[in-house]
Symmetry: D2
């Protein structure tokens, strides 16, 4: 289940892996899953009416991370211009979601985990973005 | 099956619909579907090895359009900052995909339709973006 | 923006379109969008704590419809066994979501529209399924 | 980045985790990513015209795994009937994709990894399915 090993086996990569990008792929994939779970956990909380913005931010972040990890996985042909823009949007989505989840992190363990995941994903997307500059 | 009618029924919209945004939602949804179909049609062409970049661009564009129409559909809470960035990436994805598909439009009807769809989607995302400025 | 016209342009379809399947693709695509919108509209309602199951059903139905329309769009190679099973799950998802949304259709216009969309999508998936038998 | 830990933090789970289901979620998530990568790697191979069915199976399997892991992640409200059907479709998708990838596993390392991932995912979905019976 190693994303890095999988992308290394790509004929156009041939062992010459962009490691920061592979890490961003892995964490964007996880972040999409964790945000999907956090939205659902928030929905089940008694105080759900106070968690509307949090659910919204989590669902948006899950969608953006999902698109990001798919684009960043593909190595056939070329899409560098688009990938760079997508990484930037992913950073924005993760920062917004982390900020919102951090407001509830003291009360809800799922928000604490989700905020931490979003911060990691944003950091890794930044590192991946820098490999193109 | 009217997306605009559906979003109008949202409690936070209450009839006060952003029409250009609703049109962008509708066309990003269609563009995701058309690009998914074009990638698959290209894969079935005899000259598939000359359509690698086209398949790649179509798959990327489908993913970006998918994320865009989902984000742009949601009206609960707030996500304007993220939505604006996402619309911009969608414009980039559609322009890139349209340019690539236009190169094969003379030979492949699916590429001709896909290029046209991408141009429409890009135009509508630009119009939606402008409603925030 | 005609899905049927697009799939007709596929080299392996060559004008010999499975019309009920193309209609199921179109409506599964719309149903994914309408369910995404209904989940978000429910989230914004004052009585959100009474709409948890509805939001859950809409999100699940959106995911299932999304996978269904993507699979049913592809005509390269073969996947009939998988497609038939997927159509069946889509019927189940749409029936469950319709039943839940119908419970709130009197109070919420978005639930009324969503229930109607789900019933149409289930009906079209049944018709598409029958073309394989 | 522990999916199991995240789902355990859900208010309706409250530490009472369905471990086989959490493992199925994790592996369906990974399988979606690996299949997305394998489709793209196949597309870049010189012998792409011999890998059409493999690309098709990988894209279908990625879509099904994606829907499965999202549905199986959600614990708010109830969706057991739908989840069981979805797990069955995921088993079918993974078995079909594994069988196809195994045909190319001797030549393409990415197909070997993908086949192995699909077999693991199918096995875990079966184990998760059995927890409901």
């Amino acid at each position: 289940m190693s994303i890095a090993k999988m992308i290394s086996a790509h004929p156009d990569v041939a062992g010459n892996l962009n490691e920061p990008l592979a890490l961003a792929v892995r964490h964007a994939m996880f972040c999409a899953a964790i945000c999907t779970s956090c939205a659902d956990a928030c929905l089940a909380e008694k105080m759900v009416e106070q968690l509307r913005q949090c659910i919204r931010s989590c669902l948006d972040c899950a969608d953006v991370c999902d698109a990001t990890f798919r684009l960043a996985t593909r190595r056939a042909g070329n899409n560098e211009v688009l990938l760079e823009e997508m990484l930037q949007v992913c950073i924005t989505a993760c920062d917004i979601c982390a900020e919102e989840c951090e407001r509830h992190a003291g009360m809800h363990e799922h928000c604490r985990i989700c905020a931490q995941m979003c911060r990691e994903c944003a950091r890794d997307c930044r590192a991946a973005y820098e490999t193109f500059h």
